[in-house]
């Protein structure tokens, strides 16, 4: 075996050299444009780690492999590139599983590289052996086992191509230890990947485009749905052209937020279970739905039997398997959203929509009456207010990475995103613990960006160990913990649907200020609205990572709410009394929180 002295491959040698698989791995990744990976070493991936040092790769050492997968996910969502995470066999690989499933549900391009026991030991229940391709089969777009050094480079090229093209998704490449150790002739092959059975791109027949144009021209109450696919196909601008030319109001899915500017006059906001009332009303009253890059998730539609009863539907979607899955559509346009919209826009005509636009504008008036946005300061701190103030102080330009739960829904209601890839959130899988690691990935994707984590006290603690990663990497993110001493969303469901029995939802947390301090980070706390501006300003001015403990009202709920499976127009609203006068005499059911030493 020749001593590996290959220079980092800014100048790849055209003549094949004999190098070990562990070097082929990094050389290929560098050629594929990778400069940052998130991972954790271990026995079966050690040869690869040993070779990493020779290549221009920054490795972020995580504290748990789930964090590595979420970091790669956050990195991909912000950069638009493929995120890469690395783990060893067995527990290293299985710890990635939640993060891989999360990327699958939200169509995020990710390549997870796992070490595997030597090929001769496969099937023998060797130490740290797990059939990770078997485990991840239903939660990956594709996965590949590699047991020869010759196959490493083609497998990685395939993985990147599959992860990024078409409807993106995670790909696992499982590489045996002996494939990393053995050497072979290698020169990077820049030719494109050919996969005969994989056809991500399709053209839409012109007749179908013409039919869409006719349907839009005939519509009197059109509405457009902006989904995650708009962001991944880069269709924001052409979508805006369509909306302006045809005067169509736009509702976003959770992951579509930012795909269409929230401050645009035609923007309605998010639809679905916690969409504002006027958005869901407009959806239900529409006579034409133009759904772009979305999949009619149950959180978006509510009861399918009563969903959009008057609307014809055009479904612009890359994935043919999403057509007629949940909702029957009249015109499926299967292909890239950006291309299809470019075909439609030049010929699109405005329908007779004046009355509709007036009606939609009137529906909005309803908000101020029942919402807490305009509540006078009553000495209590509301999560909504924290997020609204954060939005104002960051000029709506921060990258916000949310966890999952009440705070996530309030974020969608009160932080207005005008730009794509500035909201990073776990939609399909609803993975608590996503925010902190995903924010680390987001920061590496855009180091100059102001990154804010918004997490609940529950979700934050699921992956709080990644604070150490932050400290070690010496990066700056701002962490806003919306701390209500409860698993808030579950508590809300218990309040609404389980007779107010708060089983296993009161939660005692560590002192987050001290926790930050223990990591060498700055910890701050706010308990009323005046303090919000102060701590946010302090956090923004501080050069390192700041963790803020926002002690918010404990038993607040997210309104409106469409109960699971209910009709979309059947919403639970904030009680009028609560909206008009603040709930000054709040009764607490949570003794844990009240005994905190800061109270």
């Amino acid at each position: 075996m020749e001593p590996a002295k290959k220079a980092p491959s800014e100048t790849p040698s055209p003549t094949p050299s004999v190098i070990p698989g562990s070097e082929i791995l990094w050389d290929t990744l560098v050629h594929l444009g990778v400069d940052t990976v998130f991972g954790y070493p271990g026995g079966a991936i050690m040869p690869a780690y040993d070779s990493m040092i020779k290549y221009p790769i920054h490795h972020v050492l995580v504290r748990h492999e789930q964090g590595a997968a979420h970091m790669a996910d956050g990195y991909a969502r912000v950069s638009g590139k493929v995120g890469v995470c690395v783990a060893t066999s067995g527990p290293g690989a299985t710890n990635l599983v939640t993060g891989i499933a999360n990327a699958m549900m939200d169509s995020v391009p990710m390549v997870a590289i796992t070490g595997q026991v030597p090929s001769g030991l496969i099937g023998s229940d060797a130490f740290q052996e797990t059939d990770i391709t078997g485990v991840t089969l239903p939660i990956t777009k594709h996965n590949i086992v590699v047991s020869r050094p010759e196959d490493i480079s083609p497998a990685l090229k395939e993985a990147f191509y599959i992860a990024k093209s078409g409807r993106p998704g995670p790909v696992v490449v499982d590489i045996t230890k002996d494939a990393q150790q053995k050497s072979c002739h290698y020169a990077y092959d820049p030719s494109p990947v050919v996969l005969p059975g994989y056809r991500p791109a399709r053209a839409v027949p012109n007749a179908e485009i013409q039919r869409a144009i006719a349907m839009i021209a005939e519509a009197e109450r059109p509405i457009l749905f902006c989904g995650h696919g708009v962001i991944w196909s880069g269709a924001s601008q052409v979508l805006q052209e369509l909306v302006e030319k045809a005067d169509i109001p736009v509702a976003c899915t959770l992951l579509g937020l930012g795909g269409f500017p929230a401050s645009h006059p035609r923007a309605l906001g998010m639809m679905g279970m916690h969409g504002e009332a006027w958005v869901n009303r407009a959806v239900q009253e529409s006579d034409l739905v133009i759904a772009v890059g979305m999949r009619f998730d149950d959180r978006v539609t509510g009861n399918l039997k009563t969903y959009t009863p008057h609307a014809k539907k055009i479904h612009i979607e890359l994935d043919p398997a999403e057509i007629n899955k949940n909702v029957r559509v009249d015109l499926p346009l299967v292909g890239d959203a950006c291309e299809i919209l470019h075909q439609i826009v030049p010929h699109v005509r405005r329908g007779k929509v004046d009355a509709w636009l007036q009606h939609v504008a009137a529906l909005r008036g309803d908000r101020a009456v029942i919402d807490i946005r305009d509540l006078p300061d009553n000495g209590k701190l509301y999560a909504a207010h924290v997020i609204m103030d954060l939005w104002k102080m960051t000029d709506g330009k921060a990258i916000v990475v949310t966890d999952v739960g009440q705070h996530q829904m309030w974020e969608t209601q009160y932080y207005k995103h005008d730009f794509a890839r500035r909201l990073v959130t776990s939609g399909g899988l609803g993975t608590m613990g996503f925010a902190l690691p995903a924010a680390i990935g987001a920061k590496f994707a855009d180091p100059s960006a102001e990154v804010w984590v918004i997490a609940g006290d529950g979700g934050f603690q699921m992956t709080a160990a990644e604070l150490s990663t932050i400290a070690q990497e010496d990066i700056k993110v701002n962490v806003a913990i919306i701390n209500n001493g409860f698993l808030g969303m579950v508590r809300q469901w218990q309040q609404f649907f389980y007779g107010g029995r708060y089983v296993a939802t009161p939660m005692r947390s560590p002192d987050f200020v001290k926790l930050a301090d223990a990591h060498g980070l700055l910890g701050l706390r706010a308990t009323n609205r005046q303090e919000v501006a102060e701590v946010v300003a302090k956090a923004r001015a501080h050069s390192g990572t700041v963790v803020i403990d926002f002690r918010v009202v404990q038993e607040d709920s997210v309104y409106p709410m469409v109960p699971s499976g209910a009709d979309l127009h059947d919403m639970i609203r904030r009680p009028a009394t609560e909206a008009a006068a603040a709930p000054a005499a709040e009764t607490s059911h949570n003794p844990i929180f009240e005994t905190g030493e800061d109270e």
Binding site: P138, P196, G197, E208, P320, I323, N324, P332, V334
Partner: protein
């Protein structure tokens, strides 16, 4: 608008897949995950090296059939997929049936074998093995006729199918890139 789905029928699909380890597992896993119930599944080699052909039957309505097609179409190792249910096709099963029969009654079994255009492929002092190909109905008829003699064991292949004439262009070409949904509208 919510419209009721069409009635589920037994549908026959043909797929060309890459002959690689784990491909069958991927397809079986997809069916399990999406809750499609496979009635019959057959995989075998084709005249093209490296390419296997699958025939599978699923109870599905039209919408589900289109989604099955689309989900398989998405799989990296699936080269082409076609629903033969609404085309002219030849559908065959093969069965081997071992019957308990002593020499004096062999001719009765052979008569039945002839009527069904089956074949006797093995004989012993106590038994006779019958091979029959045909659709499911024909095989069931043979089984019913032989049952009075005493069936010792029986095995049946999965169903295989092929479209008649020059139909099924997409399925015949390993590189056929037919869109599974463009015909919906």
């Amino acid at each position: 608008m919510f419209t009721p789905a069409s009635t589920p029928i037994l549908r026959t699909f043909v797929a060309y897949v890459e002959d690689k380890p784990g491909v069958l597992n991927r397809i079986a896993s997809l069916f399990r995950r999406r809750n499609y119930n496979i009635v019959s599944l057959n995989v075998g080699r084709t005249h093209e090296p490296g390419i296997s052909r699958m025939t599978f039957q699923v109870e599905a309505d039209r919408d589900m059939a289109l989604r099955i097609e689309a989900n398989l179409y998405k799989m990296v190792n699936v080269l082409s997929i076609e629903d033969l249910s609404e085309t002219q096709r030849v559908v065959r099963d093969l069965a081997l049936i071992k019957v308990q029969v002593q020499p004096p009654r062999r001719s009765e079994v052979l008569d039945l074998v002839q009527i069904f255009r089956a074949r006797a492929v093995d004989v012993s002092p106590e038994t006779m093995m019958v091979e029959i190909t045909g659709d499911q109905g024909k095989i069931e008829g043979m089984v019913a006729a032989l049952r009075p003699f005493g069936i010792l064991e029986m095995v049946q292949s999965g169903t295989v199918a092929m479209s008649r004439g020059s139909q099924g262009e997409a399925a015949r070409s390993a590189h056929g890139a037919r869109s599974p949904v463009s015909s919906v509208a």
